[in-house]
Subunit: 168 residues, 2 copies
């Protein structure tokens, strides 16, 4: 059994099974707008939040780092919609996911994000976003509406995280 | 005729006729989540983007400052949906609005935003968001869908802006 999860840099291709990396560089369409004073990087992630009478809701999360060394004990998934995290700062944060479907501990993956957002696809298992070092703020877009939209699973034993040389 | 527009600090009460100031301090509901490691400031602005078959779209804007001193020549409104700007940084930006309905030059108002987002209500006249000093990035949520969702009006003569002592 894998008891230590190695962290990789967050890249769009590697993250595709789980959702989208939200960044200008991943836009399929770029437009010059505002009399040439702005570039619009258009439609960076689907907002899949209308299932079963749902609606998208905008919130702000202020996240405190967990104690160090990191141990992960809880994963969740949202069966009725995607969930988008847009960082307020350039501070790094940790994204931990496993594919939709029955949870498999050995399928856990960890990615270090910095200056980009992420969208967890509907049903993707994920840890709550993990601020590193300092309290960090995220704009969050997710689904509100009828139905039970959060499944949780406990990691027993907890999973340790190995950042290698990715953090200073 | 008012030819110089005085800038006021952006405050939720003063902005209420035009939309929402998006900030933790304006949340009607705050929740402790993520095993106590985060605060969720919930539902900070309505995402009014589903009218007439519309859907919310997430984009990134990179905005370059206009030349100085500022002269404003173009206002716009979106008759089919609200539009949300969430700054990536703490840099100040200028928000210029007039109430929904027939455009009235004398009803223009200017607000200096810093570290908070804004939502322009459906139909609110607004200038495109004005980065100040440096290029600034904004996460933007707005409506995509059938129908014509942008009216423009030219300010002739252009409107000058007086920041008073609000900028260093």
């Amino acid at each position: 059994m894998t008891d230590v999860l190695k962290v990789a840099p967050l890249e769009a291709d590697a993250f595709r099974p789980y959702g989208e990396v939200i960044a200008a560089g991943n836009a399929r369409e770029t437009l010059s707008i505002n009399e040439g004073h702005a570039r619009r990087y258009h439609d960076l992630a689907p907002l899949d939040m209308m299932e079963g009478g749902g609606r998208p809701v905008l919130s702000l999360f202020l996240s405190r780092p967990k104690s160090w060394p990191l141990e992960l004990a809880l994963m969740e998934r949202h069966p009725l919609g995607s969930q988008v995290f847009l960082p307020r700062s350039e501070r790094p944060y940790l994204v931990v996911v496993a594919p939709p479907g029955p949870f498999r501990r050995e399928a856990l993956r960890a990615f270090l994000a910095r200056g980009v957002g992420v969208s967890y696809r509907r049903g993707t298992w994920h840890h709550y976003s993990l601020a590193l070092g300092e309290e960090s703020a995220f704009w969050v877009i997710d689904r509100e509406g009828p139905g039970e939209n959060c499944d949780e699973i406990v990691l027993d034993p907890p999973m340790r995280v190995d950042f290698g040389n990715l953090l200073p």
